[in-house]
C-alpha cells in the first residue's frame, strides 16, 4: 500500500463534458440504489480491480496543528481497503451467520453536489460529491452519516468503474454502534 493517497491529483481542474458528467452522475445514483438495496454483487461489479477505498478517522485539533489527517495512509482509517478487503467484509454477510445483520438494516443513500472533472488520463474522471446516508435498524436505532467524497472513476467498455474513493465523514465521536455501511 502506498503511503499517501492521491485521489486529489493529478488535476486539470477542467469540467468534464456534459455527456460524461451526466453519465457519471447517473452512475453515482445507480451505485447508491444498489447500496440501498444491499445489492452488493451489483456494487462490487462497479469497483475496479485496483480500487482504493479510504475513510480516514478525524480527530478534533486546533487550527495551528497541521497534522495531515486526510491523505497520510499511515494514520488510522475506518476504511483503508483494496478490492479484496472489501470482498472480505462482504463475505461476512454471505456466511448466513452474521446474526447482527438479521433483521436487516434499512438504508437510504442520498448523493448530491456532483461535480465531474477531467484528469490527466483521458479515461479517468474525478468526481466530487456529498452524501447523506440514513440507517434505521430494529425498533428505533437510527443514525445519519453525512460527508464529502472525492472519487476517481475510470471508463471501461462503456461503463464506469470506481478506482479511488476518499470519504470525509464529519464525526469526531461516532454516534452509532457500528459502520455496517458503505458510503
Amino acid at each position: 500500500m502506498n503511503q499517501t493517497s492521491t485521489v486529489e491529483r493529478p488535476s486539470t481542474g477542467a469540467a468534464a463534458s456534459l455527456e460524461v458528467s451526466h453519465a457519471l452522475t447517473q452512475t453515482l445514483y445507480r451505485e447508491a440504489r444498489r447500496l440501498d438495496d444491499e445489492d452488493y454483487a451489483g456494487w462490487v461489479a462497479m469497483l475496479a480491480d485496483d480500487l482504493h477505498y479510504h475513510m480516514p478517522g478525524i480527530e478534533t485539533r486546533y487550527r495551528r496543528d497541521t497534522t495531515d489527517q486526510i491523505t497520510d495512509l499511515t494514520r488510522m482509517a475506518y476504511y483503508n481497503d483494496n478490492l479484496d478487503e472489501i470482498k472480505k467484509r462482504l463475505s461476512r454477510l454471505e456466511t448466513g451467520t452474521a446474526w447482527s445483520e438479521d433483521p436487516a438494516t434499512r438504508y437510504t443513500h442520498i448523493v448530491t453536489n456532483v461535480e465531474v472533472e477531467n484528469t490527466e488520463k483521458a479515461d479517468e474522471f474525478r468526481v466530487f460529491s456529498n452524501f447523506y446516508a440514513y440507517r434505521n435498524r430494529n425498533e428505533r436505532d437510527e443514525d445519519s452519516l453525512i460527508g464529502n467524497r472525492i472519487d476517481i472513476w475510470r471508463e471501461a467498455g462503456g461503463a464506469y468503474q470506481l478506482v479511488k474513493r476518499r470519504i470525509i465523514l464529519k464525526h469526531n465521536i461516532m454516534l452509532s454502534k457500528n459502520l455496517n455501511i458503505y458510503l
Binding site: 500500500m1 475513510m55 480516514p56 478517522g57 478525524i58 480527530e59 478534533t60 485539533r61 486546533y62 496543528d65 489527517q69 499511515t74 494514520r75 488510522m76 482509517a77 475506518y78 476504511y79 483503508n80 481497503d81 478487503e85 472480505k88 467484509r89 463475505s91 461476512r92 454477510l93 456466511t95 448466513g96 451467520t97 452474521a98 446474526w99 447482527s100 445483520e101 430494529n138 469526531n172 465521536i173 461516532m174 454516534l175 452509532s176 454502534k177 457500528n178 459502520l179 455496517n180
Partner: protein, 448 residues
Amino acid sequence: MDVASLIDTSTGRQSRSIYSSDAVYRQELERVFGRCWLFLAHISQIPRPNDFFRTYMGEDDVIVIRQKDGAVKAFLNTCTHRGNRICRADRGNARSFTCNYHGWSFAPDGALAGVPLENEAYFGELDRSKFGLVPVAQVAEYKGLIFGCFDPAAPSLDDYLGDAKFYLDVWLDALPGGTALVGETQKMVLNTNWKLPVENVCGDGYHLGWAHAGAMMAVQSMDLSGLSVGNSSANLDGGLSVAGLNGHMALTSLDGVSGYAFYPEPKPMLDYLEANRPTVTERLGKTRGEQLWGSQINITIFPNLQFLPGLNWFRVYHPKGPGQIEQWTWAMVENDMPENIKATILDNQCLTFGLAGLFDNDDGDNLAACTEQSRGWRTAQMDVYTNMALGRSGAREGFPGDIAAGLVSEHNQRYFYRRWQEHMQASSWSDVPTYNLNPLGSREAVNA
C-alpha cells in the same frame, strides 16, 4: 444501597439493576472511577514537552500534559474562574491553555499565568497561586502506560497492578524498544452499561464462536484454541482464564501464535514472531516467551482498560450515565516492529475491531440489548448469571493468579464482579482487600 445483595460470587449471580440503576451509577463514579487508577494515555501519545492529550476519568474531563522536564501531569480540564472547558482539542502541543470565556490562561504545569484586567478589575488582589488548574491527585507510569488516580490514599500504581504485571509485560516489556499506540483515537458511542463490554472482553470466549461466527468465517486463518464457528470444537486445554489479581484479568491462548489468527494473511506476522522469540524468551523467560508472546491475550486492568496483544487493539471505556459509554480504541504496536508490520496491524485492527470492524459490528447490538433488558420495572428485579465452570479453578505451575482452564469459562467475569462489589462496599481504600493469588513460587491451593 445494599451492595451485598447485588452480586453473589458463590453462585455467579448479578442483579440486573447494576446495569440500569442511577443510584448504582452515582456510587460507581465515587467508589470505582473516583478511587481506582485509570488509564490516561500512552507515552507515545505525548512524546515532546507541552504535548497534551485529552481524556476522561469517569465523567471528569482531564488533560494530560508532558512537562518541560519530561514528567507527566494531569489536570481537570476546567477553568478555575467560571468552570469553562479550557482545552477543546483531542490532542496537540500547547505552550499555554487560554480559556475562551474571559481569557484566563494556564501554563502546562497548571499555573494560572495570565488574567486579563488583573490590575484594573481585580485591583491586583487576585491570589493567582490559589487558582491554578486542579491536578489529578496521583499520576504514575508503568512501562509506557500513564495512569491517574483521584484518590490520594490509593496504593501505588505498582501495588495496584500487582501480579497482573506478569501478563502486562508480555506486551509492554517483550522487546527493548517498548510499545506505542498508533493512529487517531477511534471513538464511538455505545448505549450499553460500561461493565458489559468489560465483562465481554475479560473472560467471555464463549461468545466468540457464536456472536462472531460470520466475522470469523471471513477472516480467520489459524486455529484459536479450537474456537471456531458455532463453538463446535472448543479446546479447554488450549487456554487459560486468569483472575484473582486485584480485579485484573488475563484470558490467553498458549500456542504463542494465535494472536494473529484473525489476520487473513498472517505469514509476515509469524515471521516477525519467529525472528524475535529468542529475544523475548531471554527477557521474559520460557513460559511467557514461548507460550504467551504471540498468543491471543485479552488483558483487563480494572475497571475500564482492556488490550489484546495479537489482535492489537487497546481500548478504554468512558461511562456516560448507566446506559451509555464512549469506547475509545487504538492500534498497538511494538516499536521494534518493521514499518510494514505496524501498517498491517493498524489496517487489520480497523478491519476486525473498532467502528467499522467486522467483530465489533456484532457486539454492539448484544451489549445494548442486555442493557435495555435491565431497565424495565420487572427486568430490573431479575438476575443474570456467570456461573459457567463454578469452583473449577486453582493454581497453575508458572502462572500467577487463580486460573480456570480454557478461553470458554465465566471464571474471570466472576472475579470482575467480585472486585466491583468489593469497591462498591468499601467506604475507603483501607476497606478494599488486596490479593495476588498464587504468586510465582507459591503453590498453595486457592479457595476463591
